[in-house]
Amino acid sequence: MRLRFNLLVAGFVLGLAWCQQARADQAADFQDRVAPILQRRCLSCHGPDQAHGGLSLATRDLLFSGGESGEVVLPGDADSSYLLEMITPHGGKAAMPKNADPLSAEEIATIRAWIQSGADWPEGVTLSVAQVTDTDWWSLRPLSPIDPPQVTGQVRILQQGEVTLKPLMGEHPIDRFVAEKHQELGLSFGPVADRQTLVRRLYFDLIGLPPTPDEVRRFVEDPDPAAYEKLVDTLLSSPHYGERWARHWLDVVHYGDTHGYDKDKPRPHAWPYRDYVIRSLNQGKPWSRFIEEQLAGDVLYPGTADGIEALGFISAGPWDFVGHAEVAESKTDGKIARHLDRDDMVRNAIQSFNGLTIGCAQCHNHKFDPISQEQYYQLHAVFAAVDRADKEYFREPETAERYAAYSQRQAAISAQRDELKSQIESKAGKRLAELDKQIKELRQKQPGNSDAQFGYHSAIEARDDVTKWVQIDLGSTVSPEVIFLRPAYDDFNGIGAGFGFPRRFRIEISDDPQFLTGVHLIADQQAEDLPNPGTTPQRFPIKDIAGRYVRLTATKLAPRQNDFILALAEFEVLVGQDNWARRGQVSSLDSIEAPPRWGQANLIDAVHPPTPEGDSIVLQAERDQLWQQATSPEVREQWAALARDLKEVESALAALPKPQRVYAGTVHHGSGAFAGRGAVDGEPRPIHLLHRGEVNSLGKLVEPAALEIFAGHPGRFDLPEGHSEGQRRAALAQWLSSQDNPLTWRTIANRVWQYHFGQGLAETPGDLGRQGAKPTHPRLLDFLAVQLRDGDQSLKTLHRLIVTSHTYRQASTLDDPAEPTTAQGLETDVNNRWLWRANRRKLEAEAVRDAILAVSGKLDRTMGGPAFQDFVIEKPQHSPHYQYHLHDPLDPKSHRRSVYRFIVRSQLQPFMNSLDCADPSQQVDTRGESVTPLQALAVMNNALVVAMSREFATRLEAESDDLEKQISLAFRLALGRDVTDQERQPLVEYAAQHGLPNFCRLVLNLNEFHFVD
């Protein structure tokens, strides 16, 4: 595949060169051989966009004018040319290209020869960075309706070992596409699998659970010719369908319940997104809406819970807590963390919905697909205002409506008030507005921490009535005049201002560090609760009491998250204007030392959140006077009425039920290092193209846009000046969900096919670009894509179409190489790419675990809600340790379906991991499938299997007291078939000798349990 490079030949003056063949040859030589090397290897740093070291190779004049080191090319003298010296490797390493592999010997020879022969550069030729512009590729072409071919294949009928070929009956479109290929290749369809096989296949495929013995029997014995179709409909309407297929989508979007990276802290509000995916699939939600909600549900479907919860898509991937919470955006490391964060959002959007890999365009233009570096950064601009954070919303539509109505009324009253105010202001003169501005500024001073040192933090308690103290040794006995306690600020659990400030406490002073003798009470707040003071400093005057030690004793701790603490930003002890605590020593009953944020030393470091009120009180008095002068009693009455109305609506708002939270991609209203864009009303960060992906190497400022890769579906957004950040996301969402975006429909059709068959029609569902695999049945893929796009867009419709085909229903057990048609299949297509039989499926981790619980009779089928944890958390304060080996496998809370498991990024659940569950650190389009000794050990010895084997045995004993019947039931539960005569006797003997739990453990380890024919 030869790629066309975008060689700009603007104003190439052919005229003169035309006459001279030699020159023409040289020009062609430059264009064909030299320019591509410069474009690929040099121009990203020495080109039109930037000229490192003052050197650009974009035009002849620029080349010959050289750089800061002088001339780089001496025509006719390659050996003296600095350029050649720079690119010639020594010991495998060359000075240029910087930080990259050196040019090949052939490339160097080409450049040498070109310089030697005079370094001819045709007049007017301007080079730009290499870029693929060719959009003529199967997946990028428009998608049009397609009719299934008029062919009939042959199907094998196996009866008592005899194979006969019969024409394939029926008109199923999928079979017609597949049969067409069969005819080309001399293949034929296998027979339909028997019902016992089909029922197990269909259950695992559609709902991820094994059929019960009754369900198997009912289907096998159903005389209705449409029994199969009935079963398909039953399963697709089961709520378990959504649980099964949501897991596939969660793989793709790399959903997890912790942040990953350093500390790997929990994300307690991630799960509403997971439930949204389950619910959406169960509803058969149109795919275009599913896309739109996940990128911009708040904008395109306002007032719906789905529209908010879906935004968990943007935040699904990992988040670098330290890189955001401890490093401000102004620092290089902070910039890198935020760049990587947006990169993850961009990749997630494009790879999940459009099956293209795009990350490599962050350093240079995509080498294989027509995606420029600029387009990549334009996608960054789409997400430039959002961060990953908890977002509040109302699940109940009625509450959401009331919230919207009140908010609207609030806005209306505010507008009236503003109108009135401007009238008053015009009367009162400039000073009033000035005062208002100053007061507002003082009051709006960012709450939160100005620095990373938060303060002192006690150990965490389960109850609030634990007494804690912290004290300052002032070094010598003094008589302080006032003590200030400055409350701390921490966004943890959404608390913010007043974090950890005790509800009840006392302050004492003494010369006894133990506070046993000579103790003087300075402040007593022990009789009733002090409401959270925010960050307003608490002042305690002292009259004529001396002492060396000052102690704060909390008698009722502050709530944190189902637990309680004492925390404080600053402890000030003023003697005159001098804060003696600064020179003191802190001691306390206990302390969490978590630098830089928390530590005893931070209590006296003069670092504390800013005070909200301050001088505004004085200004307020002056302002009130001005106001009085400028208003008549009528106006004042009008003003007061509006204030009353406003207060009313505000209290109505406050009376609404507490909003819920989902971890989502959203404008973040934070403080300190992790401020987000809340303070600037969600104004997007300016996004520049970054040369070589380096955050301090800024290129041009870019505008938000989607990709320019389809003819007839432009990536440009027509956004008005001053548009909101949400409009950017909405524009991307609608570009993706459009009927005119062929990749959207091909990508999801291919993914669905892959989950049904084990391999996609195109084998690389996350890369349908030039580096990906081409589809085996491109017309079938397009047919399915169009069916989905132009129909009801429900995945269920697609499932029904696929699983009712003969292609899907074939037997997998055709492997007698002596049988001629099988031999033909093996010879032509050993990997079954052309679908002449069904693929046997190895069950995924979730299906194995759910099946173990189901057959043991322990599966809790409760849907939705917070994730269950199958580990014990140790050291939750800093970097939680997720200890799976300490979990009790009999804890019933952990017996829910695997899709509800709390997914830890840094430490995958060992049992699930051994069975190749998806790694939530990366987007998983296709899971690995391994068979290893460690996997065998897990299935033999893991706590779940060992414990559930006993539960399984208990269940069998409850159903029958006859060993043969117990064994038979175990097989029917776990394998969907009865035990054979041949198997029965040895198993009876084995079970009699070693007990039913051992027998059950044996069954759960069988290949037949782990594979589906």
Binding site: G92, N99, A100, D101, Y261, D262, D264, E326, K331, D333, I336, L340, D344, T357, C360, D369, I592, A594, P595, A601, T764, G766, D767, Q771, D815, D816, P817, A823, L826, V830, R840, K875, S879, H881, H885, S906, S921, G928, E929, S930, V931, T932, P933, L934, A936, L937, M940, N941, V946, A947, R950, Q993, H994, G995, P997, N998, R1001, L1002, N1005, N1007
Partner: protein, 495 residues
């Protein structure tokens, strides 16, 4: 491993007929193509692969100091810092430090003195390694990308500063395969107190097959390898039942597979149970150090089993903990494990038990460094006396170094701008230094030519006989490699 365990079987379980043998015996009717297809499937990930050229080394030990170990207090002697100690620091340019902790210049926390024929000065806190300096190549101009622990750690372990990429051990396992199927190819010995930043992401196989994931061993746990033995609740499992279960399982699986002849996975799974049973014998044996002679245990600084330790961190206990991991590493290497990763220090917690000495270098680096030096020196000497050092590479690394200025008087802030790695053994030229830092240990002396993790990785792969530009895997449309698009073999440190 208690001797009365039901899994102390006298010999490995009987071997079952393999699918290949089964087919060979069944003879007639078997198409040659089908056979070829099946044999293809047997080229499993675990068979040794071909190297690109003749290797100098066969095995790697990576010693990882979590939290950011100070080059200035251990390896990289800066007399200029002694001279300027306590003077206000001036870097001559704006510096972004992680916690803005840029106090006055701070001299090395410990005295340095020269060792060996090369006269390489080392800090007294790592003096046990003094006897090894002539085998070690120091690299003092390592640079990272950021001063964030998670990113720095991933960069050193996987070559990328974001999660989702295979660890170096995984690449080596992928490139060279296993020489001992009874043990994992890539073993991780975490700090006994817990995982470092990013946890298991540092040894993940990511997009490589999952059997290239580092297998975590906690030698002190009842199950040193996850699920090596049945969970404690399995009291119904006995030695006899286990043997019978295995036999019955194999029998039923064989019968199931006989009707599904062309599916190689079924036979693989049958064999995986045999291998698992062999691992149940091999792993405890490899991890058992009780019978190692006293002089060997002393060499590694290992205290008598059952020693009671004070609650405060102390050098003897650190030496015992690190030394045990080093000795186990040697035993694993002897048994042809390819890659062992040993961690010192866990993630950030309280009290601090890693190298992230913002507050107090002496308090935190002191015991960790003494313990590490004792164990590492023991490992080098022990491998040497067994003739194994010549084909075993030892790499000492960390996510970044620390600043030449003090933070809060006793500590130092992160320094990703320069730090130290050292390599030893397996084709490395000892007694030399490649790449200096500047006179204050702030940045590389030659800022235009630093050493990066890609170069270290490229060099190690080179010594193992692998060309880092050719060890690739196509993932999401990109031919991924350990060294991304970077990396140069450091030829001058090769013997």
């Amino acid at each position: 491993m208690p001797q009365n365990s039901p899994f102390h079987r006298p010999s490995a379980p009987r071997r079952h007929t393999t699918r290949r043998e089964f087919l060979a015996q069944s003879g007639g009717g078997l198409g040659a193509i089908a056979l070829a297809a099946m044999l293809g499937e047997e080229t499993a990930a675990n068979t040794p692969h071909k190297s690109h050229f003749a290797p100098k080394a066969k095995r790697v030990v990576q010693l990882f100091m979590a939290g950011g170990a100070s080059h200035l207090d251990l390896w990289d002697y800066k007399p200029e810092l002694v001279k300027r100690n306590g003077q206000e620091s001036d870097f001559g340019e704006p510096v972004e430090a992680f916690q803005n902790g840029l106090g006055p210049w701070k001299e090395p926390t410990w005295k340095f003195r020269p060792y060996g024929e090369s006269g390489k000065p080392l800090s007294e806190v790592v003096s046990p390694l003094g006897g090894c300096v002539d085998d070690i190549a120091f690299i003092h101009n390592m640079v990272g990308k950021t001063g964030v622990h998670s990113q720095g750690t991933l960069l050193q372990t996987t070559g990328f500063n974001l999660p989702g990429f295979p660890g170096m051990g995984s690449w080596v396992s992928y490139g060279l395969g296993s020489e001992n199927k009874d043990l994992p190819t890539f073993v991780v010995l975490p700090d006994h107190r817990g995982f470092a930043s990013n946890g298991a992401k540092n040894w993940d196989a990511a997009f490589l097959a999952s059997d290239h994931t580092g297998t975590v061993i906690f030698p002190d746990r009842a199950n040193p390898i996850n699920d090596l033995m049945p969970h404690a609740s399995g009291d119904y499992i006995t030695q006899e039942s286990e043997a019978e279960t295995q036999a019955m399982l194999a029998q039923l699986n064989q019968r199931h597979a006989a009707d599904r002849m062309l599916d190689g996975r079924l036979e693989s799974r049958i064999r995986s149970y045999e291998l698992a049973a062999r691992m149940q014998l091999a792993a405890p044996e490899a991890l058992e150090i009780t019978n190692e002679p006293k002089y060997i245990r002393d060499l590694y600084g290992i205290a008598p089993d059952g020693t009671e330790w004070p609650s405060e961190i102390n050098p003897r206990e650190e030496a015992d903990a690190f030394g045990r991991k080093c000795l186990i590493a040697r035993r694993l290497l002897e048994r042809d494990v390819r890659f062992v990763q040993i961690w010192s220090g866990n993630d950030n917690g309280f009290p601090r038990r890693n190298w992230d000495s913002h507050e107090d270098v002496e308090r935190d680096h002191g015991p960790l460094a003494q313990g590490m030096a004792q164990g590492a020196a023991g490992l080098i000497q022990d491998l040497k006396q067994r003739g194994m050092l010549e084909d075993t590479i030892i790499l000492w690394t960390t996510e970044f170094g620390r600043m030449p200025s003090t933070q809060g008087g006793k500590g130092r802030d992160h320094n990703p701008y320069t730090f130290t790695n050292w390599l030893c053994g397996g084709g490395i030229r000892g007694g030399m230094t490649h790449g200096e830092s500047d006179e204050l240990g702030y940045k590389p002396l030659d800022r235009a030519n630093p050493t990066q993790v890609y170069d270290i990785h490229a060099t190690i792969l080179h010594l193992l006989g692998l060309d880092h530009t050719r060890l690739t895997v196509r993932h999401n449309g990109i031919d991924r490699r350990l060294t991304d698009v970077h990396g140069h073999v450091l030829h001058d440190i090769l013997a």
